[in-house]
């Protein structure tokens, strides 16, 4: 055993040294993504004192490296950290992205910690999780202590692109189970969710081809739970189906309007008739819908002003206590400089039935914030799959 270990060490050293000598010229593309989201929040909740919070959650840093591999493939490493919500129990910094990706023109393999495929589309909210209960398939293993449990996990994903616009994704995830077990306990990182999705979507670079249908998709997320009283894997599986579409109502370069909607049906477990905890909330039968109408004014070929109005409704037919929830989000963003926006958002949420006890009866949140997001690359070596050259003039690996 010792010999084997020494051999492995020597082998790794040899490979490392050899690599440096032979391939010194191959320097990767370096990508830097940074996003700062700072907001001053005022929360007015029913039966609670009004609170004010200086919130910088969702602020994060992404570092990527990618290069050409032999033949037609490209490889990429991404490491990212994010400042999670206060009281999330995730520490000061959360490494939300740490993955490797290998891809060619039509196939992508991704492995590591990353955003889980819990939503088909994104919505125009200040933060990614502002309408999470409506926009994402929820993690039934989470205690609900933080939203990141629903957004990030250990992901294994294969994607195949038919033509240029039809995406088939098959994915398996390990969703975080919270509360996290003590470090002394053997931690299980086995897959606890599998799913697939099929989407048609027009690449962003072709938006000025004036498509009306920007995206349409369907997704299936299945969680492999420990449902008490059942032995069959099928019975223990929590099944979710999502459908979505984005319509460019007026794909005009100056006055742009679009509408997006997503519905999520959670088949739920029929024995769950009340929701006193997040786990029950996520495992109860539910139907959620979320829709946004967005107006974007682009003065000089760049976003200048964005206004969005979103509405979400979720109902739980199996919960005995006549439970549902709704949310309205209105926001506006004004561009102060390249990639730098000032934003104002007001969101109202109401929870009825069991959810009034779980999340509070209602809350109105006013947020004034600044957002700075950059995406920069150095030592560029190739076009993205969705560049116009690759899409319309022949793909070059």
């Amino acid at each position: 055993m010792l010999k084997l270990r020494w051999f492995l060490i020597l082998f790794v050293v040899f490979i490392g040294a050899n690599g440096r000598t032979l391939f010194a010229q191959v320097s990767p593309e370096i990508q830097l993504g940074a996003r700062g989201v700072m907001s001053f929040n005022t929360n007015v909740a029913a039966h609670e004192a009004t609170s004010a919070v200086n919130d910088f959650s969702d602020t994060g840093l992404l570092l990527g490296f990618r290069q050409k591999l032999y033949n037609r493939f490209r490889g990429q490493l991404v490491i990212g950290m994010q400042f999670p919500d206060a009281n999330s129990d995730l520490g000061q910094v959360f490494f939300h992205q740490t993955f490797l990706r290998v891809e060619d023109k039509s196939n992508i393999l991704k492995m590591g910690r990353s955003r889980v495929r819990s939503a088909l589309i994104e919505f125009p909210t200040l933060r990614d999780d502002d309408a999470l209960y409506f926009t994402d398939v929820l993690n039934p293993f989470s205690s609900g202590e933080n939203t990141e449990d629903n957004q990030y996990g250990n992901v294994f994903e294969l994607a195949h692109i038919f033509g240029q616009r039809t995406w088939l994704r098959v994915h398996g995830e390990h969703f975080t189970e919270t509360p996290v077990l003590p470090a002394t306990t053997e931690t299980d990182f086995s897959l606890n969710a599998i799913g697939f999705s099929l989407q048609y979507r027009v690449p962003e670079t072709q938006i000025w081809n004036q498509p009306f249908l920007q995206q349409i998709g369907i997704g299936f997320n299945n969680f492999l739970t420990d449902r008490p009283g059942y032995t069959s894997q099928t019975d223990k599986m929590l099944k979710n189906i999502s459908v979505s579409t984005i319509l460019n109502l007026r794909p005009d370069p100056v006055h742009f309007w679009d509408f997006r909607v997503q519905g999520i049906y959670n088949a739920g477990f029929r024995e769950i008739e009340s929701a006193a905890a997040f786990g029950e909330f996520a495992r109860a039968k539910a139907t959620a819908g979320f829709a946004s109408l967005r107006y974007l004014y682009r003065k000089l070929e760049r976003p200048t002003l964005q206004l969005a109005l979103s509405f979400g409704y979720k109902t739980f037919p199996d919960l005995l206590n006549n439970t549902d929830q709704l949310q309205v989000v209105a926001n506006s963003f004004y561009r102060l400089g390249e990639n730098f926006d000032a934003g104002f958002q007001v969101q109202y949420s109401r929870n009825n039935g069991d959810l009034a006890g779980l999340f509070g009866e209602s809350e109105t949140r006013f947020q004034f914030g600044l957002v700075y997001a950059i995406d920069q690359s150095w030592n560029k070596q190739f076009s993205d799959r969705n560049s116009l050259l690759n899409l319309e003039h022949g793909y070059i690996p």
Binding site: T205, Q206, N209, Q210, K299, E301, L389, G394, I396
Partner: protein, 396 residues
């Protein structure tokens, strides 16, 4: 193919094709003729020679396994050669098949000013799908070229250049140095990463702009086009941010070429110059790129006979010349020293392919009547398993 086969094939293909024996083979000599710009055949309309040029996006393979997107006249980089007689009436019908703007500038020719191809000065740009007709009389004689004058930094290194040769029946150079064969070499330098990023950015912008223009919604600030300087200054005073301040979406760095081509190819696929003992050849050198080239010929001096197409009063001998951007130089090489001789940029940064030496604009002067046995190889080459002495290789 397994890994071993792959390595064998990869090593064998470039080496075999460049052995001296292969260079002297008749098929190689014939294939080499295709490495020079094809002459565009005119149609006659009365006494006017009518040429048709179009521009489209094309994939250019500089060397095997490396392609990039280019802007190519008639799907060729460089564009086809236009060759006329001095005094010919010339009409060039230029069709823009891309979603970008273009013009054609006739570099070194005495065209009417409205035919000079400078956007917003002599003409409006030729917009996507549009056609523009250039008409002029071919003057003066000599070696000239044409290139795009819109977005010149990008469009020229993307491939929009071609030779324009005006012949003269009483050419003094031919009288002084009788020759039968001549070659045209167009040099360029390409930052393929810059080209890719810029082309993608411009294509995106143009999709948006063409939509607005079609709907009659031209916006001077959006397009960065003003009638007068005063109008521009006033716009800035009113809050307009020029593209060079904050609205820039192109790379902020100037291009740093990583590929150097002759007639659209890099070593080992650059064209070679074939000559025979006692023969004189004329080589027309055109720099359509942004870099200076210091071209050196081994084993010979050559005669510099024309500068910018104009015959020099007193040709002089040299073995290294300086070919600046936009320059054309004509040289005469006399076949006086049998062998295979390299002709290359002595700024050896340009003798590289994507940073790796050798590559770039390296090419060879080859005596095609050289006896094959002179290409024999030494003992070391035999021990290396080579069939002959390779004059070029892909690694140091």
């Amino acid at each position: 193919m397994n890994r071993r086969d792959f390595l064998k094939a990869g090593a064998a293909v470039p080496a075999l094709s460049l052995l001296p024996e292969a260079l002297l083979a008749e098929t190689t000599i014939q294939e080499n003729k295709n490495k020079f710009p094809h002459a565009l055949q005119p149609k006659m309309d009365g006494d006017v020679k009518v040429f048709e040029l179009f521009i489209d996006i094309h994939q250019q393979e500089i060397v095997p396994a490396f392609k990039f997107h280019t802007l190519a006249f008639n799907n060729q980089v460089p564009g086809p050669e236009i060759r006329v007689q001095q005094g010919d009436k010339v009409r060039v019908i230029f069709k823009n098949k891309t979603e970008l703007n273009h013009t054609i500038h006739w570099h070194g020719l005495y065209v009417p000013w409205r035919m000079d191809g400078v956007p917003y000065v002599t003409q409006m740009p030729v917009m996507p799908g549009q056609e523009f007709v250039y008409e002029f009389v071919a003057e003066p004689y000599g070696t000239h070229f044409y290139h795009c004058h819109w977005g010149t930094l990008l469009h020229m290194q993307s491939g929009m250049y071609g030779s324009f040769i005006v012949e003269n029946a009483d050419d003094p150079i031919k009288k002084q140095f009788p020759y039968e064969r001549e070659y045209t070499l167009l040099y360029s330098a390409h930052d393929t990463n810059f080209i890719r990023n810029e082309l993608n950015g411009m294509l995106e912008r143009m999709k948006e702009r063409m939509y607005l223009m079609k709907n009659g919604r031209f916006d001077k600030e959006r397009f960065g086009v003003f009638d007068t300087k005063e109008e521009f200054v006033k716009a800035v005073e009113n809050g307009y941010q020029p593209p060079y301040v904050v609205n820039r979406r192109a790379p902020s760095e100037l291009p740093q070429p990583n590929w150097f081509t002759v007639n659209g190819k890099s070593y080992p696929f650059t064209p070679n110059l074939y000559i025979k003992e006692g023969e004189s050849i004329r080589v027309r050198l055109i720099n359509g790129g942004t870099e200076e080239h210091y071209l050196h010929l081994h084993g010979h001096d050559f005669w510099l006979v024309a500068d910018d197409g104009v015959p020099v009063p007193q040709p002089w001998q040299q073995n290294t010349l300086r070919l600046s951007p936009g320059k054309t130089l004509d040289i005469i090489i006399e076949g006086k020293n049998r062998g295979i001789w390299t002709f290359h940029d002595h700024d050896t940064r340009r003798v590289t392919n994507n940073g790796l030496y050798p590559g770039g604009n390296l090419l060879a002067l080859v005596y095609e009547d050289m006896p094959a046995e002179e290409a024999g190889l030494g003992m070391m080459a035999k021990k290396m398993g080579l069939k002959s002495l390779p004059i070029v290789a892909l690694d140091e």
